[in-house]
């Protein structure tokens, strides 16, 4: 119990939990789509990148496809100083909803009733296409993202506890709590939420009772796009918006393995356990074994959980009778 006396212990616990919230924000997008359609959306990380790129584009007044236009002799890159953040956010939301409609019409609709693996492969293709389109639309340079969220260490916490806790991460935690509450209530208590769950259970049965699969998929991909926008904003505010943002999906995978692919609270709890576990391990054990343990330790932790609960902490247990 030596670490309880370590002045850094409490700081690493808080930092780990806050990092876990950031992971959970990404994992939420995966859960929503998997829960409603049984699709493991490989493109979720790229959706977050695309959403953040779009937001910065609207904020800075960037003209989409400017580089492509210059090939045809139109040398314009910006139309003005851009929209205020709130307007840019609203337009980005609309873009994500429009993108969801396009994905359903072009990618998913032709694949109704196909095997899950085929839908998964389609999302791999979608990820690469979206990344390319994002590059063509907004360019690949690093973009600063400022949506007015407080950043830097909290003075109050620093003065009272001597701990450096980033205000941006506290904001992310608050946003995640609000998101999870709204999504849980939506899923459990609204007619649409019940329809989403019905589609997840059985496409054909849902169709037979008059639920429009197309509309349900559009809604769920739109909600997932909005979650991706939130995740993109939080991560992009930290490191700038750039193409490596799509790799944050890698951080969500152990969270999903641990929390289960179908549970919204599972994504949060899984995120917290992964965030806390990897930070404690890296801080206390990492230096003894050469460091850089966070990437693999998160997966190891998830695999250990899978030994005892193959469906994840909150995942639905699959029982197939023969």
């Amino acid at each position: 119990m030596f670490f309880l006396l370590d002045p850094f212990f409490y700081e690493i616990v808080i930092s780990g939990l806050l990092a876990g919230v950031m992971y959970a924000l990404v994992a939420l997008g995966f859960v929503l789509i998997f829960k409603a359609s049984g699709i493991f959306n490989f493109a979720q990380g790229v959706l977050a990148l695309f959403a953040a790129l779009t937001l910065v584009g609207f904020q800075t007044g960037q003209i989409p496809f400017a580089h492509l236009l210059s090939v045809f002799g139109f040398h314009v890159s910006h139309w003005g100083s851009g929209f205020p953040t709130i307007i840019a956010l609203l337009f980005s939301l609309l873009v994500m909803i429009g993108l969801a409609w396009l994905i359903v019409q072009i990618v998913l609709k032709p694949l109704v009733n196909q095997e899950g693996i085929i839908l998964f492969m389609a999302t791999i293709g979608l990820a690469y296409v979206l990344e390319g389109v994002g590059d063509l639309m907004w360019g690949a340079n690093v973009k600063e993202l400022n949506v007015g969220l407080p950043e830097g260490p909290s003075e109050f916490i620093l003065d009272t506890t001597d701990m450096f806790i980033d205000k941006l991460e506290i904001s992310a935690a608050v946003v995640a709590i609000i998101l999870v509450t709204v999504l849980t209530l939506f899923s459990a208590y609204t007619k649409m939420g019940r329809a989403l769950r019905a589609v997840a259970d059985d496409h054909q049965a849902a169709l037979s009772v008059g639920i429009s699969l197309e509309t349900i998929w559009w809604i769920v991909w739109s909600v997932s796009g909005i979650v991706a926008l939130v995740a993109g904003v939080m991560w992009g505010a930290k490191s700038g918006v750039q193409f490596s943002l799509s790799l944050i999906a890698l951080k969500a995978l152990p969270v999903l393995m641990l929390g289960g692919f179908t549970s919204i609270p599972g994504a949060i709890i899984g995120g917290l356990i992964i965030g806390l576990g990897e930070k404690l391990f890296e801080f206390y054990i990492g230096p003894m074994i050469g460091g850089a343990t966070e990437n693999w330790f998160a997966y190891m932790l998830a695999l250990i959980f899978l030994l005892f609960r193959p469906q994840g902490l909150f995942g639905e247990k699959i029982i197939e009778r023969v």
Partner: protein, 428 residues
């Protein structure tokens, strides 16, 4: 009409099958896509714009036009090797892949194929020993030079002594990031400072524990060997824990505008080592503007001109163009082969008068490559970021590394490589 169409298709196929002219081919293994694209794009733009300028202004080199063979690697080593295999048969004069991983893979291949590699300030450091690595050049300086010059600067800040001080190395957990460790260990023993190693896994988007270690260890200085998003996150995290930016010094691959801009004002005062002066007040930029940008022939969107990595791309291309010129002089032919290009690189000499003629007045240090020394003078200057004006400025002169330490390490590592691969002295 049908016959005419078939004839036209056949003619166009013939035209693509037979090279139109004997242009000098320069393969550009670049990365304009993927997570490291923000760094790959300005570098590739710099190379392409300089070569376009040489073609437009001078009609190529020695009457031979230069032709770029672009190939996208996405900073992926496997793709880099594929690019090499795909382009080497097209008369490729030299490879410069902007990736330590790809460079390591190409060293034995290119040597066997008699094609030189220019890994400018990256790649395998001990390749500076031309007696062992006949086809690899890493001038104007190596990672070990950079590590030594950074430590020298720390000593200057500490009034000449690092005895009892602590230096943390935050590094990309890859072959690239691990390169300076050996040198820093030697320098630690020599100068009496404690070295703390803090690896960060690819891509480096999450570094909370690393910077908590920094808080715990309380190093007097932090140096960084990062690339891509790792740099931006590290600078932001350092600012978050209020680590003094003027004690945080990056290698030249952690030294671009991309690295400091996302952190905004908080990155003010961050330092890094530089190979050349920042800015655009040089003749070469005026020529690029006149012959390339104004003519509408910019390689990219034209928005990278003058950035640190664009300038480095321009410098890389300038070394290669001058090497072609040298090779043409040595061999008395304009249409040189890759083997002749190697000779040109090995005999490259550029003094300040020649740099000025080339439009690079006081831009970088003089260079004098030889059979034994492929690493160049190993000079570097420290630049500092001013977040208010959004500019870098040099705060020191170009200084040399600790040759006693660096040369001994190069000799040790290259000798081991020579013994493993049965390589005899290439200069005797």
């Amino acid at each position: 009409m049908k016959k005419l169409t078939i004839a036209a298709i056949a003619a166009s196929m013939m035209a693509t099958a037979i090279p139109a002219s004997a242009d000098l081919a320069i393969p550009l293994l670049s990365y304009r896509t993927g997570p490291y694209a923000p760094n790959g794009i300005p570098y590739a733009d710099g190379v392409e714009d300089y070569i376009s300028m040489i073609n437009a202004r001078d009609g190529g080199v020695g009457g031979e036009m230069l032709k770029i063979l672009p190939c996208e690697t996405a900073y992926n080593t496997t793709k880099g090797v594929e690019c090499y295999e795909a382009t080497k048969g097209e008369g490729a004069l030299v490879y410069f892949p902007l990736s330590t991983g790809i460079t390591y893979q190409l060293i034995p291949k290119a040597t066997a194929d008699n094609i030189p590699i220019h890994s400018m300030g990256y790649g395998r450091t001990s390749a500076a020993n031309g007696k062992v690595f006949s086809h690899v050049f890493n001038f104007p300086g190596t990672y070990w030079d950079a590590a030594s010059i950074i430590v020298k600067h720390m000593m200057d800040v500490e009034n000449g002594s690092l005895e009892g001080k602590k230096i943390a190395l935050v590094y990309h957990n890859s072959a690239y990031g691990k390169e300076p460790i050996r040198t820093l260990q030697e320098l630690s023993a020599k100068h009496g400072f404690e070295l703390v190693l803090l690896p960060v896994d690819h891509p480096g988007q999450e570094q909370k524990s690393t910077w908590l270690q920094v808080r715990k260890e309380k190093p007097d200085f932090v140096t960084m060997w990062g690339w891509g998003v790792m740099n931006q996150v590290a600078i932001s995290e350092a600012a978050s824990i209020r680590y003094p930016m003027d004690r945080f010094i990056g290698v030249w691959w952690s030294a671009s505008e991309n690295d400091v801009l996302p952190a905004g004002d908080k990155s003010h005062g961050y330092k890094a080592i530089a190979m050349n002066r920042p800015g655009t007040d040089f003749g070469v930029y005026r020529d690029i503007q006149k012959h390339v940008l104004d003519a509408g022939n910019a390689a990219g969107a034209g928005d990278q001109v003058g950035s640190v990595l664009y300038s480095r791309g321009v410098l890389n291309a300038a070394y290669l163009v001058e090497s072609i010129r040298t090779a043409q002089k040595i061999h008395g032919v304009a249409d040189i082969t890759p083997g002749m290009m190697r000779d040109g690189m090995e005999n490259l000499k550029i003094d300040q008068a020649r740099w000025t003629e080339m439009g690079f007045e006081n831009f970088t240090s003089e260079i004098n490559v030889s059979c034994e020394n492929h690493g160049g003078p190993g000079l570097g200057a420290i630049q500092q970021w001013d977040a208010n004006s959004g500019t870098w400025s040099l705060i020191t002169d170009f200084v040399g590394s600790d040759r006693a330490v660096v040369d001994a390490l190069i000799e040790e590592d290259s000798s081991a490589y020579a013994a493993e691969n049965n390589i005899a002295d290439q200069c005797s």
